[in-house]
């Protein structure tokens, strides 16, 4: 699948996680923007038309789901994947968020790189 030139937002307060995600996504041709807080992410979404966003569930200034809602307001078509160590896959909160369409996928930390790529491909389909 060709992801060349796709604009992707990565939001995590942990720089190393950003480093990991950026490297995985760059490998498949994505263009990554990094945000370390919800505030940064919100202003970036206002300026750029992202295809996809990878969000941490717990950020220092805002809950990940809250952020997802905010980002959706600016960009209703934004695909959002939640990447978190706080929840597990069958968590009620996660299942609800996927069911209501708030997020398109959930990836638990630590993850296999393929899961990240699958999330991207699933969204860009």
């Amino acid at each position: 699948m060709n992801n060349t030139g796709k604009l992707i937002l990565i939001v995590d307060d942990e720089p190393e996680i950003c480093w990991v995600l950026e490297r995985i996504l760059k490998k498949v041709g994505g263009i990554c923007h990094l945000a370390h807080s919800a505030e940064e992410a919100i202003s970036m979404v206002e300026c750029h038309q992202y295809h996809m966003a990878f969000l941490d569930a717990k950020l220092p200034d805002l809950d990940g789901f809250e952020l997802a809602r905010c980002l959706r307001k600016s960009n209703p078509d934004l695909n959002i994947a939640m990447v978190s160590g706080y929840y597990y896959k069958a968590d009620q909160t996660i299942l609800m968020a996927i069911q209501t369409g708030l997020i398109s996928s959930f990836i638990a930390k630590p993850f296999i790189h393929e899961e990240i790529l699958n999330a991207l491909n699933h969204c860009l389909r």
């Binding site: 990991v20 995985i24 706080y86």
Partner: protein, 503 residues
């Protein structure tokens, strides 16, 4: 008396006069005493009887004097006492019959108990008769029975009490030792009596007990002390003692009463409570800690995947990945260590030197994620690198964990937790301030009460502060609180610092 009388009475006239006086005195005495007195001839007839006897027998003097014994005394008494034979025996042997007891129950009258004796009456070398002395001891007997009953009752209270109850003389020698003392100490009452109380006290507490005894002597007041009893198996059992002065009627201290309660069970219960509260606090943190561990795990995992999957790895990139893996493992392992320190109380070496600075930093590490989630900033200001106190690290950690969790709970919309550590010559002071709700003044006295909580059901046990308080108290310290509604609260923990050992 008689000799003195002879010496001081030269004239016969005077002698008669005095003798009349004495006769009257003795007659009066005889009439007045609360005994029945009968003079019985050797023919078993009554020669004289005093007023007490006449009252008791309800017979006039005329129906008594000159009458035979068996006409005067009730049949029961005659039979029970076998009085005729005994009177004759006293006359024959010229030996008094010393006190005997007799219960007399006449129909329709409450029973009476008599104490009687027979004394030979000797006049000019001949036995003229026998004096029968009868004393109604019913009341005394009843009274002493009651006293004995009360005594028995008190004794059974002391003996069946589950607390140790013992008494000792002024020098600490054991006088009484109840069955609880026997059971707990393993020494029987027989083994304990006469030995000094200090022999049953653990070596390290003996000087304290001596001090307490001196205090009792000085202030004549009860003293309370927790110290260990050494059993016959050389096991130390922690006892909460109350020592009270034992005083005579002129308020002189004649001994000490010690009442002691075995604290083993209560301490075990407290430990269980502390443990369960710790685990409850753990539950609150579990999510945050999971996140905190899974982040470095994710970094390690990804770095390894890069190394495995990519073909064109530069030496620089390999190095970068390896460093990240190492750092990630160290981070995860540090969190797990803090967790272990918090959740497993070390059973041996319960008290040790604890560096409060290091311990509080570790506790704060456990809170990092929780703080991030709740948008809480933390500030730590320390006056010195190390503040050493003696105590149980796990327990103290639980105290600060509770204070931090409370601070977080008081700031649902985020805020600032400031932690300050300082010390003076005597104490270490740790303050934990938040910028939360604050505590309403009327509730401030309740916050250390067990099960007091403002949290909704399932959100807080109401045990955190009460357990923290008891832990700090066990370390010889205290917790104080200052709070302003709407501005926040400051909890200050004061713990005595370890005096540096001079070399």
């Amino acid at each position: 008396m008689k000799d003195a009388f002879i010496k001081t009475a030269p004239s016969e006239l005077l002698k008669n006069d005095v003798s009349n006086r004495y006769e009257q005195l003795y007659t009066m005495l005889l009439e007045a005493i609360p005994f029945s007195v009968l003079l019985i001839s050797n023919k078993l007839r009554i020669i004289s009887a005093n007023r007490n006897f006449l009252e008791k027998s309800q017979k006039p003097l005329s129906a008594t004097i000159g009458h035979r014994l068996d006409e005067v005394l009730p049949l029961v008494i005659l039979e029970q006492m076998d009085i005729a034979r005994r009177v004759m025996q006293v006359i024959e042997t010229n030996k008094p019959l010393e006190g005997e007891r007799m219960t007399y129950r006449a129909p329709g009258v409450p029973f009476r108990i008599y104490y009687y004796s027979l004394i030979p009456f000797f006049w000019r070398g001949q036995i003229e008769g026998v004096i029968l002395l009868m004393n109604d001891v019913t009341e005394q007997t009843k009274l002493s029975d009651e006293v004995r009953g009360v005594e028995r009752h008190l004794a059974s209270i002391v003996s069946s009490a589950s607390d140790l109850m013992l008494s000792m003389d002024g020098t600490g020698n054991i006088l009484t030792w109840n069955s609880a003392a026997e059971m707990i100490s393993g020494y029987t009452s027989k083994e304990a009596l006469g030995r000094n109380f200090l022999m049953f006290i653990a070596d390290e507490d003996r000087s304290d007990i001596e001090e307490i005894f001196a205090l009792i002597e000085r202030h004549k007041s009860a003293q309370i002390k927790e110290c260990s009893l050494r059993t016959s198996q050389f096991i130390s059992i922690l006892i909460s003692w109350v020592f009270s002065p034992l005083m005579d009627s002129s308020s002189r201290i004649i001994g000490i009463v010690a009442v002691g309660r075995n604290l083993t069970e209560r301490r075990e219960f407290e430990r269980e409570l502390i443990k369960s509260q710790r685990l409850a606090a753990m539950g609150i943190l579990a999510g945050g800690i999971a996140h905190e561990i899974r982040n470095p795990l994710a970094i390690c995992s990804s770095a390894v995947q890069f190394l495995l999957d990519e073909d064109d790895i530069t030496p620089e990139f390999r190095r970068e990945c390896s460093e990240k893996i190492l750092r990630g493992i160290q981070r995860a392992s540090a969190i797990i260590e803090s967790l272990l320190r918090y959740s497993y109380p070390s059973e041996k070496d319960r008290t040790a030197n604890v560096d409060l600075v290091d311990m509080i930093k570790r506790t704060m590490d456990l809170m990092v994620q929780q703080n991030t989630i709740q948008k809480i900033e933390t500030k730590l200001s320390i006056a010195m690198d190390r503040v050493i106190v003696q105590g149980e690290a796990t327990l103290l950690m639980q105290v600060f964990m509770n204070l931090f969790l409370n601070a977080i709970k008081a700031m649902p919309d985020g805020g600032l937790i400031e932690v300050g550590i300082s010390q003076d010559k005597a104490n270490a002071y740790i303050s934990v301030s938040d910028t939360g709700y604050g505590i309403v003044e009327q509730n401030i006295n309740k916050i250390f009460d067990p099960f007091y909580t403002t949290s909704s059901v399932g959100k807080g046990t109401g045990l955190g502060l009460s357990i923290s308080y008891s832990i700090v108290q066990q370390h010889g310290g205290e917790i104080s609180v200052k709070s302003t509604v709407g501005k926040g609260s400051t909890f200050t923990v004061t713990i005595p610092i370890l005096q540096p050992v001079s070399k």
